[in-house]
């Protein structure tokens, strides 16, 4: 009850604060030409996709951004390292530029080759997402190394402090409820990978929801990130799978005609080997990407309706703030759930890759 009351007041206060802003935005629109119209999909694209600089805010028409290093290898084989500031606003630097809308490789660094056509050079620039991943990795390392150092420094059996207790609770919950429960007796071998995956995804998800630097980068909503995570699970499942697992893939217990002239079932099984991690990759990507997009859309609702008059704007502002708050809460839940689901499914796939021998199964 109390919380509900507070939320209502919070929304009203937020609406009251935002109204003059909207009004001034509307005035601006009236004063200037139509070309200043908000490009909603550009804003969403900028926030949700990767970028060569980290746009923090715009203050009095000035973009305040962190320009990140661009690392590219041109066709001639030489490496170039320079600040992305040189490429801002469509400029060309050392033959490199960022492809514009409608071009091939839109938004990526391209160079003009000898034939005159634009090509994509080898590009390992430290982009926004790469920097966010690095920051989140440092945060993760700090958290767990502090906790581990506490254990190493303290005599055995001493009582942990609150921070260590919380970390311990999370770690043991994942290890017992997910890893141990899904894999069974050999779980110790896999638990470092699954714990790393869980907390890596969780920290990146949560940091992605925080709307200002160093959060806000959509790392786990990027295919490259989920691809690497899914690839690690693929390796963990297939490289450490036992002989029984591979027998079940290539010579499953089905009528012989289903596998001898044309190996139908083995093909399906083999497809499953690939599709399981593929599903992991797409699930995480889609959930986080969608969450970011929806939150941005609800937030931008305020500015879309800004020119429709004060009444509608005020109403839509309250509506949008309420929805944004609800979505943010939901996204925190999703951040945990997606980390949980990824880890749980990885653990289940690993558990399936270590079946007991069939004879033993039949006896039971």
């Amino acid at each position: 009850m109390n919380i509900g009351k507070y939320t209502t007041w919070l929304c009203i206060a937020a609406a009251a604060l935002l109204m003059p802003l909207c009004a001034s935005a509307a005035e601006n629109h009236d004063g200037k030409s139509e070309e200043k119209e908000l490009a909603i999909d550009d804003i969403i694209t900028e926030h949700v996709f990767d970028s060569y600089w980290w746009h923090i805010t715009t203050y009095k028409e000035h973009h305040i951004s962190i320009y990140l290093p661009i690392i590219v290898r041109s066709e001639s084989g030489s490496w170039h390292v320079f600040s992305s500031k040189h490429l801002a606003h469509g400029e060309t630097y050392r033959g490199f530029r960022i492809a514009e809308k409608g071009e091939d490789h839109e938004g990526k660094v391209v160079a003009t080759g000898e034939s005159g056509e634009a090509y994509r050079p080898w590009d390992i620039s430290l982009t926004k997402n790469a920097l966010a991943l690095t920051i989140n990795s440092v945060i993760m390392l700090t958290i767990f190394l502090i906790a581990a150092r506490w254990y190493r420094r303290r005599p055995k059996n001493s009582t942990p402090n609150k921070f260590v207790c919380a970390i311990e609770m999370l770690v043991m919950d994942v290890e017992e409820e997910i890893v141990h429960a899904s894999i069974g007796k050999d779980y110790k071998r896999y638990s470092p990978y699954l714990l790393t995956a869980f907390f890596f995804i969780l920290i990146n998800n949560v940091m992605g929801i925080i709307p200002f630097f160093p959060g806000g980068a959509n790392t786990t909503g990027n295919i490259a990130v989920t691809f690497v995570l899914a690839a690690c699970t693929l390796i963990a499942v297939n490289v450490f799978g036992n002989r029984e697992y591979w027998r079940e893939v290539f010579w499953p217990d089905v009528p012989v005609w289903l596998k001898v002239p044309i190996p139908i079932i083995p093909l399906i099984e083999l497809f499953g080997v690939i599709s399981k991690p593929f599903a992991l990759m797409i699930r995480l990507l889609a959930n986080i990407f969608a969450g970011h997009t929806v939150i941005l859309a609800f937030t931008l609702l305020v500015f879309i309706t800004a020119k429709m008059g004060a009444g509608i704007t005020a109403g839509m502002t309250v509506f949008s703030v309420v929805l944004s708050i609800v979505m943010l809460c939901l996204e925190f839940l999703v951040a945990y759930i997606q980390a949980y689901v990824f880890t749980l499914l990885s653990a289940v796939f690993i558990g399936l890759s270590r079946p007991e021998h069939h004879a033993a199964h039949k006896k039971q």
């Binding site: 694209t45 996709f49 990767d50 690392i71 839109e106 938004g107 990526k108 080898w122 590009d123 390992i124 620039s125 430290l126 982009t127 997402n129 790469a130 991943l133 690095t134 990795s137 993760m140 390392l141 767990f144 190394l145 906790a147 581990a148 254990y151 190493r152 055995k156 059996n157 970390i167 311990e168 770690v171 043991m172 290890e175 638990s191 470092p192 990978y193 714990l195 790393t196 890596f200 990027n222 295919i223 490259a224 990130v225 691809f227 690497v228 995570l229 690690c232 990507l285 990407f289």
Partner: protein, 172 residues
Amino acid sequence: MSLLTPDFGLLFWMAFNFLIVFGILAKFGFPVITRMVGERRDHISKSLQAAEEATKKLENVRQESLAMLDETRVQQAEIIKKAIADGEQIVRNAQQKATEETEKQLEAARRSIEMQKERALSEINAQVALLSLDIAEKILRRQLDDREQQESFALQMVEETESIRRKRSHKR
């Protein structure tokens, strides 16, 4: 930027970051935490077991001490009973002894009284004899002027004395 085509640069950075984090935490992070928690769990279960054993032992000790207490109480009662009996015995003995002693003393006293009485009697006898001799002498000096009377009297006296002596010896 396409949603579904992974960018090579980000793939590289992601793999780089993730593998470093995994390498460090797999070696220095998670195993330390899980191992310590496992050790603590073992320690707790061991401690609980030890506590249970200690409780059991304590219970045994309590039972033993109770049994000992009961035994002691029985012994105490016995000892007290014996002490009372001993005390009574001692008192009885003492009384008996005292009675015997008293009787002995009474006997001795009686004997010495007898002896002294006899001595006193004999003394009195001697005294009486002397006195009577004196008296008799005085009387005789007056009465016995003639010879005849003297002789008869003397004879009578002798007889009397003889009879007295006989009587006395007879009495003894």
